[in-house]
Symmetry: C2
Amino acid sequence: MHQTAAKTAAALSPLSIIQGQSLFAAMDDRLQEAFAQASQIQQLQKGAVLFLQDDPAEWFYVIISGWVKLFTETLDGNEAVIDMLSAGHMLGDSAILEDGIHTFGAATVEPVTLLRVPCNLLKSAIDRDHTVALAMLRSLSRHRKRQTREIESLTLQNASQRIGCFMLRLCHPGQAEPIVLTLPYDKSLIAARLGMKSETFSRALNKLRSETSIVIKGTVVTIPNLEDLSGYVCSACSSEFPCADLG
Amino acid sequence: MHQTAAKTAAALSPLSIIQGQSLFAAMDDRLQEAFAQASQIQQLQKGAVLFLQDDPAEWFYVIISGWVKLFTETLDGNEAVIDMLSAGHMLGDSAILEDGIHTFGAATVEPVTLLRVPCNLLKSAIDRDHTVALAMLRSLSRHRKRQTREIESLTLQNASQRIGCFMLRLCHPGQAEPIVLTLPYDKSLIAARLGMKSETFSRALNKLRSETSIVIKGTVVTIPNLEDLSGYVCSACSSEFPCADLG
DNA sequence: CGACGTATTGACTCGGCTCAAAACCTGTGG
DNA sequence: CCACAGGTTTTGAGCCGAGTCAATACGTCG
């Protein structure tokens, strides 16, 4: 898993990371250099907090390896997991458009490598450079779509369907059956991510097992028949299976 | 309510509507004129469909008066109300960033007056004009914030709290107690908007009545004590009462 | 007054949560 | 190699919130 980071460590420079991000792809070389100069690669342990809700946003982050969770905490101490992000995703950048205040918190859930980039640099790049603003628009829009699906999922799908939906999103379109995949992080985290308790997750998984043909053994999931699963899951959703997951 | 539209009908020109929108505020006069030229004012009956999910997006809309509901329908025939919008709000514009396909449906829930604007005009304005792109970014960002609150609300608040939250958002910050307000649309619609059935709404409203000091009589709500209500509602949320409602 | 649509109430079911106990892993040290 | 400690996952029993279906009340408009 994290060997990926170690293996390619030699090839890892801020510049190369930046060039791999669609947000930066449209920038000219000088601007990319400027970003690379101002950024640092960070290695973090499990459970490290990148920032908290209402913090002033100094940095945003690009994930190089590992999983990061976005969350909010309620006054009475509950936590809602808003999203889980992995390699290649950016986070915290949207604070630029929110008066420079983070509207959610972010923490690692395992050892994570990431690139830390100053917000003000991005802010001025957007203000100055039209192509950057357009790239940011595309990024925000993708985000919006993701969130809309989230709302739909929470309102219309039950626990088992949400779990099935989660698994379908781990499948790549052209894959041949039977599809074998590994759950990307702890079940209790998946549960939180899907807005349920881990006990409920466990039971709902059993139900999914009995209602479809999938097989779960530890963290390994086998899907013998995609149609069977998607039939069960997508009936309570507005779009059918290959419901374009948005990077 | 709708007299507002009738009264000011004389002053209503596409141009004046457009100039009242923050998205268009930054445009120069010529561009505003071009938009006004290409737009039309429409009067619609209750239940009119503006567009459906997956429709190619030809137009987007600015609401002049009345309420419009945004929704998605699942394959098995359920409907989720994503948002309810009223005068001054835009809708359908985000399709520009989604390959020109609407990602939700929109329909009126009462007689509505609106301005219909061609999408391609906005699309090219964003592509060409940096200030327009920035305005669009701000608009999308506001939208994103709204959605995030939605997700939080659905995961963390129970039915009564969501109803209370809905009422708090109808209050204006500086208002003196007791606050008297009128529900903006049918209770069954509010229920759908808050992701619950109308029976549940009715019961949850009773509960809210018994747990706080609010008084409901038909469509009129009286809040004798804001703190009392917000204490009940906001404990299950990440931000406290005057949780900036975003236009 | 009667009729229709909206809102409420009642009785029941079911899904998901809580609390508590057992089972399962995984890594550590003897 | 085994035993054990720590965490994670699963299972069990009971509860509560929200959905369903059906019946009743309310309001408003003709």
